[in-house]
């Protein structure tokens, strides 16, 4: 049992909270955290109460420090702490504050708790309760770290999805002519998406020619070439001819060395030449305006 810890927590809870929040509003003197944003006060307050409830519950029970017993208590504590910690981490990320600040806030609370504990104890503080409190905060720090990383991972994967969507536009260049500028990496997932978008647009606009521009594709290897070929085949089945443009001179040399043939696909060095070709196929041309009669 750790009665002293439990007592401290019960009697000085409000005082501790006020002290904690007040100190967090300024940058710490030892530089372990910079001041908490005012919007953070509510999430911190909530976290504090959940944490106190957990500590109190744990302290009032028989606490086992045996490490070979990954206690039910710990798991309960983690589950209970997850929502407020998650909120804290998310707020910090939104405010573009660092994870070390977040950890700094939490570890500062540990510091305050220890101080209160030592001040309240008449006799020497039970070693077990010190170890236990330390262990608790270790768990919390680890959990915070994991939550922050998970949050970042989620953010990155959301971003890459939006980049993917942004980077596959199918443009209507002219009546029955589409332009598909490809930029960036073309892997299997993206190739499928590109093909989907293109086929949809071909059907919608009854396109007779599609210009696929590869200027923005950094490297054309066999797998990229294969994806493009499949896209071309599918476009053809819908009755659209394909004009490839923007293969760089070194790209062309590399493709021939690899032994890749684009067969009877029309290819032009520049987008300009490709557009001229597309217009030709649809029986149009760009001409200078007639000199106005004066």
């Amino acid at each position: 049992m750790t009665p002293s810890l439990s007592q401290v927590l019960k009697h000085r809870q409000d005082e501790l909270l006020e002290h904690w929040l007040r100190d967090l509003s300024q940058t710490s003197s030892d530089g372990s955290f910079s001041s908490a944003h005012p919007e953070l006060i509510e999430p911190l307050r909530e976290l504090f109460y959940v944490l106190m409830t957990q500590l109190d519950q744990a302290a009032s029970r028989e606490i086992s420090l045996a490490t070979d017993q990954p206690s039910r208590l710990e798991r309960e504590q983690q589950t209970a702490l997850e929502p407020p910690l998650k909120q804290l981490v998310a707020e910090q990320a939104r405010l573009q504050r660092s994870l070390s600040d977040t950890l700094g806030f939490l570890l500062y609370l540990k510091h305050l708790l220890f101080k209160a504990l030592f001040a309240a104890a008449d006799q020497a503080v039970e070693e077990r309760s010190i170890l236990w409190l330390d262990h608790c905060f270790e768990q919390i720090a680890r959990q915070t770290f994991d939550l922050a990383l998970a949050q970042r991972d989620r953010y990155i994967s959301e971003q890459s999805i939006s980049i993917m969507e942004l980077s596959t536009p199918v443009l209507r260049l002219w009546h029955q002519i589409l332009l598909l500028p490809l930029v960036g990496v073309i892997d299997t997932g993206r190739a499928r998406q590109i093909t989907d978008h293109l086929l949809e647009a071909i059907a919608k606009y009854e396109a007779r020619v599609t210009v696929i521009d590869l200027t923005g594709v950094p490297i054309i290897d066999t797998s990229v070439a294969q994806h493009i070929m499949k896209t071309i085949d599918a476009a053809r089945l819908l009755g659209s001819r394909v004009v490839l443009t923007g293969i760089s001179p070194e790209g062309a040399q590399t493709l021939t060395k690899l032994g890749i043939r684009f067969g009877d696909v029309i290819s032009r060095a520049s987008l300009r030449a490709g557009i001229a070709e597309a217009l030709l196929i649809t029986g149009k041309r760009i001409a200078a305006m007639e000199a106005s009669p004066r």
């Binding site: 490297i219 066999t222 060395k257 032994g259």
Partner: protein, 168 residues
């Protein structure tokens, strides 16, 4: 002749772990940057990057992941000749029939089948060591300058693409 940048420690060696297709681009980009940093011509840098991309894709698609390493090396036989050594290793199932895999247009996986033979053509040196269940190791080198053939002294980049062509 441009000054040869000394292969420095920090750019001398890079390791990439390839697990999925998404990892391929980073190593191809790394190879290209390294080659351009060393003063490779655009075409030769592109060759190296494409070969790296082919082999890394193989790791992701067939071998269930592996390791790609890029090293800057100097030709022991010739001073001032530098190149990029590409080492590709996996613990995958190995290539059952190497001769067949090196055949143009052969693929077990409904692909174009020019990855391995194509990559070997893009590099100046290429050796492969594979055994069933022991994985595959590939070592390949791209030199900064094309080999000068004594019978046909070719100095242009375009010439290097057809080393067997006789001098005009």
């Amino acid at each position: 002749m441009v000054d040869l940048p000394a292969p420095s420690e920090e750019c001398g060696s890079r390791r990439f772990s390839i697990q999925t297709e998404a990892d391929v681009m980073a190593v191809a980009r790394g190879a290209r940057q390294l080659a351009e940093h060393l003063g490779f011509s655009q075409v030769r840098a592109y060759h190296l990057a494409t070969a790296t991309s082919e082999l890394a894709t193989n790791l992701a698609v067939y071998a269930g992941g592996g390791m790609v390493q890029l090293h800057v090396i100097e030709d022991p036989a010739k001073a001032n000749r530098i190149g990029v050594e590409l080492r590709v290793e996996d613990q995958g199932p190995g290539i059952p029939d190497l001769a067949l895999a090196m055949t143009e247009g052969f693929s077990t996986g409904a692909r174009l089948g020019c990855g391995l033979p194509g990559a070997s053509r893009l590099m100046d040196e290429f050796s492969i060591d594979t055994s069933a269940h022991q994985g595959t190791r590939i070592r390949a080198v791209k030199w900064r300058q094309p080999a000068l053939l004594p019978t046909a002294p070719i100095s242009t980049e375009a010439g290097s693409l057809a080393p067997t062509r006789t001098a005009p």
